[in-house]
């Protein structure tokens, strides 16, 4: 099982590297979308500082959804997915590897970019730390749920939109606790409760979502 996991992971990372411009698009989207808010809401530092955590989280969520769309589509089109499901090892390895690749390629860059954006929004250092820590726990949840949505909508004509409609409601708890953690830190309280809940969400999705994704992949290729 680990063998299949590593094989798919290494192949997809190599493919992402070969198409690095495409791989960077979610990050570009994240930064461009974030930079629209000061223009739209107005440049008052107080307002920007207040909305920053929520805005960063919403943009991270949307950036993840846009990129997760193509997670399985290419492999379905060229027959690779069929071959992966024919491997003697369980399809769970494929589902987990795909989630891991998605997080490494489009989740991790967002976490790296978030503090820079936070500074532009005038966030304080403790708030930035809370934001990054929250994203570290939260973005894997988005990748796991996104992969599930992508597997469920695989091969459907309006799959992209449907995927977002399926995943957004499931991802709202992560959004609430992630953005809420920064809020409590800024109010001078401990955010331990928020982080515990995010951690619990991560564990629950990490256990449940890949299993469901693997099952959905089998159904989609049938």
């Amino acid at each position: 099982m680990t063998d299949l996991f590593i094989a798919v992971l290494m192949r997809d990372l190599r493919l992402a590297w070969r198409r690095r411009i495409d791989s960077l698009l979610p990050l570009v989207f994240f930064i461009v979308a974030l930079s629209l808010f000061p223009l739209g809401v107005g440049p008052e530092p107080q307002t920007l500082r207040e909305i920053a955590p929520g805005v960063v989280w919403v943009c991270a969520l949307l950036a993840s959804m846009l990129s997760v769309n193509l997670l399985f589509a290419g492999d379905l089109a060229d027959g690779s997915l069929e071959q992966m499901l024919l491997a003697p090892q369980p399809a769970l390895a494929v589902a987990t590897a795909k989630c891991a690749v998605h997080w490494l390629v489009s989740g991790l860059p967002l976490i790296v970019a978030a503090p820079l954006v936070g500074v532009l929004f005038g966030m304080s250092v403790p708030a930035l730390v809370a934001l990054v820590f929250g994203l570290l726990l939260g973005t894997p949840i988005l990748s796991l749920l996104g992969a599930l949505g992508a597997a469920l909508t695989l091969g459907l004509r309006s799959g992209g939109m449907l995927l977002i409609l399926i995943v957004l409601p499931l991802a709202t708890p992560a959004l609430i606790f992630g953005a809420g953690a920064v809020g409590t830190i800024e109010a001078g309280q401990s955010a331990a409760g928020h982080f515990s809940l995010l951690g619990a969400l991560l564990i629950a999705t990490a256990i449940g979502a890949p299993l469901a994704t693997a099952a959905a992949l089998r159904i989609s290729t049938e």
Partner: protein, 232 residues
């Protein structure tokens, strides 16, 4: 050859391994695509050393049958055994025993030919060295493009790279090939025939579809005709 096609399983006796345990045994198999029933009550037995040519008109369900035998789709009825193992009971053992090459080549555009081949082999649990990969590509006559990206290869070259798996899939006793001769030139056909003959000699079985007549001389391909298999 066509006279054999009247019965679903062509029995032209005299093959030395006739009494051996079947590699693939399907009984009363039924399959459907969407809502439409494609076939029902299908019996196929593949013995060691056999090459069976699965024939039928377009849309008759050849690919569906292959996918069903590969375990990618579920039969609506009937029993399936590969190497004595039932798909439902032992899916992992089932998948270890078979190699399925579909109509699509399953090669990624942004990998080189040897990377793509080595990934496909690894999926099947075969860890191959660079030399083995080179040798396999050489057998199919595409070793000169082993470092070329798949996107730069022609259709025929891609097919050859994808078929090069066969040269390193000795452990898989059952080969299910969907239109393997597609896009191949005379050299490619000869190379594939050689691989099929070797596989049969090792005691493996092959079920393949092709819209051209097979040129394989040894073993003589048996014919399984879906058109003559009436829906029960």
């Amino acid at each position: 050859m066509h006279s054999f096609a009247a019965s679903p399983v062509v029995a032209n006796g005299g093959f030395p391994l006739e009494s051996a345990e079947p590699i693939l045994a399907a009984a009363g198999l039924g399959g459907q695509r969407g809502e439409r029933m494609l076939f029902r009550g299908l019996d196929i037995t593949l013995l060691p050393g056999q090459v069976v040519w699965l024939r039928g008109r377009n849309g008759r369900g050849k690919t569906s049958l292959l996918r069903l035998l590969a375990g990618l789709a579920t039969p609506t009825e009937g029993e399936l055994h590969v190497a004595g193992q039932s798909l439902r009971r032992a899916p992992a053992a089932w998948r270890r025993a078979l190699l399925y090459i579909g109509h699509q080549n399953a090669l990624k555009d942004d990998l080189t030919a040897s990377e793509a081949l080595s990934f496909l082999l690894r999926l099947g649990g075969t860890h191959s060295t660079a030399a083995q990969i080179d040798a396999a590509l050489h057998r199919l006559g595409v070793h000169q493009c082993r470092h070329a990206l798949v996107r730069t290869l022609s259709q025929g070259q891609r097919r050859r790279v994808s078929l090069a798996r066969l040269a390193l899939s000795m452990d898989q006793t059952l080969w299910l090939l969907d239109e393997p001769f597609d896009a191949l030139d005379a050299d490619g056909v000869a190379a594939l025939n050689e691989l099929l003959a070797e596989h049969a000699q090792r005691g493996g079985a092959t079920l393949l579809t092709s819209h051209q007549a097979l040129s394989l001389a040894e073993p003589v391909p048996r014919i399984f005709d879906l058109d003559h298999h009436a829906l029960a």
